[in-house]
Amino acid sequence: MSLDDPELPTTVRATLDSAGRLVAADPRLLALNARAGGMIGAPLAVPALARTVRHALRLRVPVSRTVIVAEGGEDLDLWVRAEPMADPERGGVDLLLVGWKARDVWQPAVLRGNYHHRFRHSAAQWVWETDSALSLTRLSERATVSPDFDGTACLGHPLTRLFALAEDDVRAFPILSGLALRQPFDRQPATVRQTGQMVLLSARPLTDKHGAFCGFAGAACRTDAANRANTNLPSLVSSDLDAFTSNIAERLDRTLRMPLDRIIATAETIQAQADGPLRQDYADYAADIVNAGRHLVGLVDDLVDLQTIELPGFTILPQPVDLAEIARRAAGLLRMRASTARVQIDAPAFEHVLPTTGNARRALQIVVNLVANAVRYSPLDGMIWVRAEREGAVGAIIVGDQGKGIALADQARIFNKFERVDPREAGGSGLGLYIARRLARAMGGDVTVDSAPGQGARFVFTLPFDARDMT
């Protein structure tokens, strides 16, 4: 039996006498206590629980806390409430344990789900908090001092005095479902009553130690002012949403790049032990931080690219590009990483020339992406072939590896946004191939794949052949 079994009750009770000795308990707690060496008639053997009981007995007020309890190889998260009995004759404590779930292995915030809220808060014009009756209890300073808006008058009043709520584009009120289910909500369209400003509200619920609802902590993001001036129709909401999302990359760049650069630089300093010797495992942790930071910077780069290529009318001015040279440079850039992964790259010979039209920087970006993918999926001591060939009206770079290949069904999927060649594999934003293909197409070329499972993958990047350069 695992304590984490969903079939087991998650609310467990126990009674203790005035000396803190266990009188009775539900089987689940009995089992936990027995495994820790405790029994009926003795004080609880689980230290965090015993401490809570002792505090309630001594202070004679209810004590509730979140505690972590070790159970076998797992850590359990428990909400504990120890309440002194009302009857002074008995003088004991009623113990209530709620939650009872295995503590999650640490995960990056992006996977934990609160990432979106942090992100929204970084872009928010102001942040707000309410109590459980939805009265406004806090507003960020920007909302209280802005020249055209004084939110002060709304503090203490219902949230709806500040914001007039509207339906979203699927004719729903996200805040209502958030309130009903005590869940985070997002993209609730609203108007600031005092100014007529359109905003989008998002919030997460505030809960106390027992999970009871205490209010919302939220953010308000102003939607694009220009759109608002042009139209007053209900469709306004969706056009505002577009304007909102199109700024995401810019905001990411602004809010993330500087702190990330600083994190990487500092972690590199720690790793290099520049300020004095350090235990090796700490230096290694710093190396992990550097790697994770670089990965995130790569993600920011990808998203900024994504925004650029998704602008309407995005094109790239054609210039002569020697694709063979591009292939050699990409191979050169990745040789170090390849040798670390014990993979060899076979690039076109030095004298090989393949004239095409496109943009050299963008072409290099594409080939680097394809070769880096190949390195990532190559087996140890594998080989990657980078060939530059003319195929009729196009010049092509072919990147082949000896990895596990890509099933036919996945070959279209991997060019979609946020898809990965192997979703189980860590790293990568899932944007690389999408961006590569969009860039190639904007230069009049393409990126395609042909592969079969077990036979390695073969990516082909084409650009229009530049016949003028044949002389």
């Binding site: 505090h55 004679r60 109590d131 009756a133 009265s135 503090l155």
Partner: protein
């Protein structure tokens, strides 16, 4: 590579000069580091700030100085442009050194009153943020401050609204340079404004020469303006005291208000309610509430004739929010606290009602004597 030997020599000479200058600077830096290390190693662990408090304190300092600096720069620049001194105005707005760095380097920020105030503020924020939020019994009933808006006494309503505004301002952690209000006691705000004006003047003077009387007069005028525009009554501490005085609760009401304010994580109101009940200043009560030892707080709670359960709740809530406190030590003395006569507790706190400056002077003399004793004993 150049064939012109002369150019190469000049370049080399310049390089040598630069290297020598940097070597001299490095020597100074090494000495600075040494004295920094000496100062650091001499601090007793019992009084050393923890890293989080130090970071937050520096951030608050930088934020305050940045806010004052932005206001001074823009106001003085406007005045200079009006007086046909656009060049000076540009030098003033373009001078890159932040006032904070200069004030810090000058040692002006080693001001016990300023640092004491900010340290207390940082500690109060940290404890308030860490207080456990408690859901109300009736989720449809608004929390304490929103309810007080509709109090029969309009002064209570206005003060509750002002407290929510002041707390929003204090907790919004606005980026450096964007917050126009320092929220400091007037005297400290005045100091900070004049220091910042002087630091700005020095920064511009470093960037060139020429008659700077126009700059001096513009900065002085901007500083006077910043001081005149400052409303001390809007400070969080003042507003909280105003609300507590307007409420002027009896013993039962005070108990209820304290417990509810604590559940709503309104620590400033808790402090103000205690201070008002005991006739103390906010600053003194804050020091008592934030002191991890807690002995003076237990006396204060007892002096207000609070019952055992309320004292236990307050002590427990603070202990859970502040890792420096010890619940078991509190439990050890709880019965002694409750057994203490409330008049005795009041008498014990009476010195706190003496004039602040007088108490500070008493402490300074006592500390001076204590520090000088060991060396005196040695020489004797």
């Amino acid at each position: 590579m150049s064939d012109d030997g002369r150019n190469t020599d000049m370049g080399a000479n310049q390089g040598v000069r630069l290297l020598l200058a940097r070597a001299t600077a490095a020597e100074t830096r090494a000495a600075d580091r040494l004295y920094g290390a000496i100062a650091d190693v001499a601090i007793d662990d019992a009084v050393r700030m923890d890293d989080r408090t130090r970071l937050r304190l520096r951030a608050v300092l930088a934020q305050l100085a940045g806010g004052v600096e932005t206001a001074l720069r823009s106001h003085a620049a406007r005045l200079l442009i009006l007086r046909d001194e656009a060049g000076l105005a540009a030098r003033l707005t373009d001078s890159p050194t932040p006032v904070f760095a200069r004030l810090n380097a000058s040692g002006l920020l080693r001001d016990p009153a300023l640092i004491g105030e900010l340290l207390a503020r940082v500690r109060e924020d940290a404890v308030a943020d860490a207080l456990a939020i408690v859901a109300p019994d009736d989720p449809d009933r608004p929390s304490l401050l929103p309810r007080l808006l509709h109090h029969a006494n309009p002064l209570v309503g206005a003060s509750a609204a002002a407290l929510m505004t002041a707390e929003s301002r204090r907790h919004s952690h606005a980026p450096v340079g964007t917050s126009p209000s320092s929220d400091l006691p007037a005297e400290l705000h005045h100091h900070l404004v004049w220091w910042s004006a002087a630091a700005l003047r020095m920064a511009v003077a470093d960037n060139g020469d020429g008659a700077l009387w126009a700059l001096d007069s513009a900065l002085a005028e901007a500083a006077t303006h910043a001081i005149a525009a400052y409303v001390e009554e809007d400070r969080l501490e003042a507003v909280a005291m105003r609300l507590a005085s307007a409420l002027d609760p009896d013993a039962d009401a005070r108990t209820r208000l304290l417990v509810e304010a604590l559940s709503d994580r309104r620590l400033s109101l808790v402090i103000a309610l205690l201070a008002q009940g005991l006739g103390l200043e906010y600053t003194d009560m804050r020091e008592i509430v934030l002191d991890p030892g807690g002995e003076r707080l237990w006396l204060a709670l007892r002096a207000l004739d609070l019952d055992r359960a309320t004292i236990a709740r307050i002590g427990l809530a603070l202990a859970e929010a502040d890792p420096q406190r010890d619940v078991d030590a509190f439990a050890d003395v709880l019965d002694v606290i409750v057994a203490t006569d409330c008049t005795v507790a009041r008498q014990a706190l009476a010195p706190l009602r003496l004039h602040r400056e007088y108490r500070a002077a008493l402490r300074a003399v006592e500390r001076g004597v204590r520090l000088s004793l060991p060396s005196g004993a040695m020489s004797g």
